[in-house]
């Protein structure tokens, strides 16, 4: 087992990221911050609007009690800056001349109109990696269209196929279009940084949420391109093979009979309990039965049987035979999950104003030598103004007082 603590350097230690992003890019900033980058969140004076997104700790709204902010702003530093003012834009240019990455999610053209576009800043700092995430990208007829997570799922093709035939197309829980846009942007940013290590040259990374979602559906595009008909909604009874979720005694359970043996064993188990109906008939031998014309009949038999068992019984039976069965867990069960606890997935941090430490989801990947780390909890508004503007940028006390008085910082 490689020693994960032999040195402290994270992969992005030493990189400075200026983060001007909203919900479209906040996860990208988190990914980079959690892997060691010094991500400075540039908040408008008065605080970032994301501080007002719920849920809130103990349901009390406030800039330091948004659990959304706490979750996404880990490992950040915070400065306040009104980039729409001339003084503010000038200050951002000075910051950008010393930064490695700039991350922004404004509508196309806005940054340029402030003199803060990619070409403006790359003139000052040719190594700058400038990441723009927008609903539809920087080019094309829809570039100025507005978007949200819901619109990204809709236009990207994930929503049309999610849900049941009798329900409207359905969004994924959470804000997965935003997450996907950020995940793709992170890949783009890391590629650009790797390129810069070799050449010293930065570049512009242009990410469209719609494209990010459209390239992440697994089957929507490929099914249409190769089968000639669009994929449709089928609830939790998935795809070609026997991949499905079922109602059972205490909730729902996911059953995948990925091999013939698994399907035969499952039928035999049902038969032992006298619940297999005519499923042992050889016309149902194929594991693709759920796609056939008798699917309603088969579903009825399986559901009747499953209702006699708990999620745990069915899961244990399957996993004992190395079949991919698992319960549909409810949120309250998540924090108790033995595997997540056993691997130490959840991490704790103290947070000013909270009586108890706060539990966060942990690393999406474990690098043995340069690991993910929760170094600091989310910052207060402008918590690092003095440090960043004074110590690092060299502004005098008087200049900072003047800018604060003018509402710039």
């Amino acid at each position: 087992m490689p020693d994960s603590t032999q040195d402290g350097q994270q992969p992005l230690t030493g990189y400075r990221v200026l983060d001007l992003s909203g919900p479209l890019g906040v996860y990208c900033g988190k990914l980079m911050a959690d892997m060691g980058a010094d991500v400075v969140k540039v908040e408008p004076p008065g605080g970032d609007p994301m501080r007002h997104i719920g849920p809130f700790a103990h349901d009390k709204p406030g800039p330091d009690s948004s659990l959304y902010w706490l979750h996404f702003a880990t490992n950040r530093r915070s400065i306040t800056l009104d980039v729409t003012s001339a003084d503010g834009a000038a200050l951002l240019r000075r910051l950008a001349s010393k930064a490695d990455v700039l991350l922004e999610t404004h509508q196309p053209g806005l940054m340029k109109s402030l003199g803060l576009g990619y070409s403006d800043l790359s003139d000052l700092n040719s190594g700058l990696v400038y990441v723009s995430i927008t609903p539809f990208g920087q080019t094309g007829p829809y570039r100025d269209y507005k978007g949200s997570d819901l619109i990204g799922l809709a236009m990207g093709g994930y929503m049309y196929v999610t849900g049941w035939p009798h329900t409207p197309p359905t969004r994924l829980w959470g804000s997965q279009a935003y997450h996907t846009a950020s995940n793709r942007a992170s890949i783009g940013a890391l590629l650009a940084l790797y390129h810069r290590l070799a050449t010293g040259q930065g570049q512009h990374v242009d990410v469209s949420m719609q494209e990010a979602v459209a390239a992440t559906t697994e089957h929507v595009n490929i099914y249409y391109a190769y089968e000639g008909t669009p994929a449709v909604r089928c609830g939790f009874r998935h795809g070609g093979r026997f991949v499905a979720t079922w109602r059972c005694k205490d909730g729902y359970v996911s059953i995948t009979t990925h091999r013939q043996q698994a399907w035969d064993d499952l039928r035999a188990w049902m038969a032992e309990e006298g619940m297999a109906g005519d499923l042992m008939d050889e016309k149902y031998n194929d594991t693709f039965v759920l796609r056939g014309e008798n699917s309603a009949h088969i579903e009825e038999i399986i559901e009747k049987w499953a209702m006699r068992h708990t999620r745990q019984e069915i899961t244990d039976w399957g996993q004992a035979r190395h079949y991919p069965f698992g319960p549909a867990a409810t949120p309250v069960e998540l924090l108790e999950n033995p595997q997540l606890q056993g691997r130490g997935f959840f991490v704790q941090a103290e947070h000013p104003g909270f009586a108890e430490s706060v539990t966060y989801p942990g690393a999406p990947y474990r690098l043995s030598r340069s690991p993910w780390r929760l170094r600091t909890a989310a910052p207060r508004i402008g918590q690092h103004n003095a440090r960043v503007y004074g110590d690092e940028l060299g502004l005098s006390q008087e200049e900072m007082a003047r800018l604060a008085g003018a509402g710039v910082i």
């Binding site: 507005k146 049309y160 390129h195 290590l197 990010a212 490929i222 979720t245 995948t256 690393a363």
Partner: protein, 410 residues
Amino acid sequence: MAAQALDGQYVLSGVRVLDFTWVHAGPAATRVLADQGAEVIKVESNYALAVVGGAAASTPYGLGQRHNWNAGKLSFSLNMRTPQGIAMAKRLVAISDVVAENFSGRVMARWGMDYESLRRIKPDIIMLSMSGMGRTGPWRDYVSYGQTLQAWSGFTYLTGFPETDPSGPASAYSDASAAMAGAQAVLLALIHRARTGQGQWIDLSQFEVVCSLLETLVLDVGVNRRGEAVQRTGNRLPHGDASPHGAYRCEGDDRWVAIAVFSDEEWNAFAQAIGGPPWAGDERFATAHGRRRHADELDRLVETWTANHSPEEAMHLLQAAGVAAGVVQSGADLADNDPQLRERGLFRQVPDAQGVLRTVEGPPYKLSLTPGGPLRGAPEFGGHQTYVTQELLGMSDEEIAQCAIDGAFE
């Protein structure tokens, strides 16, 4: 002045990836590397194909998956059940930068190819191990598909409408997300190696990837002890007052438009764009809170308008007024009717080994200097035997013949 894009320059040219991955998450992760010029050698075997049921080529969809996940890679057919197969794999490790695998449990160790062993062959090797549950912990040997992990994480339970069974995501979101995470992890390790000279081992649990995307759920359950109260909310957001917010039925068969209104300003623009019907002036809808509270009624009324429009008409009309709206696009809409995706070139036509053009997805991010992207489809099974054995491994004709007789390439 910003530098011009350099034709043919690939960020990862010179990086070699020995790729043992199969099924969705693994190949989709290494596809990201291949798009940017890494030489990805897909190690395949007839024995492994038999296990996946040969699905790769048995249906048109299976063929599509093979191309989409493996575009631009090389294929080397190698039988790891033979000592020569293992020996050749280890010689390839010595000239590779990254080894990727998503086998269950102890397969790599059985071949003497766990990280510690690989490190002795190539000290700065980067090894990506992707698995359902991770390589440690009480459930490390559990078997899972994407849907299993979505169920276990809570995604299945929480996706859908409160009054119906949950649906969960339509496909393996956990695999797709694990692929993005796997690619990031390798890039982070490559950056670390470029800065320090060190390689490392990446233990990626697809379950943890999905759980890291649960957003505020963990904090909400932990801080507010709200577990039982977190339930499905259909197309409405669980927090805040966005409304109307959902998919609304339009003219046509199973055609829908998604609309997301957050602020009063957007509501006023929306009401005006749809022609200011009397119901839009209803006092109950005057504030965001009121609209959210009466969302059932509001959704019904919004649908009286959308029902008389195609989703495209509704989207253009609402977007012109500054309201976030979008067609709920099917696979056909994405490929045939979307001028935005067409202009940005998401879908690529690349030649397979026979020169037949195949549709694959391009990289969904545009790098101004080094755009990358696939140049060819998936390789044929064992399509690069000569290149790997002769050019990379420098094997003699006799050696190759003996390995073939011993079944090392099957």
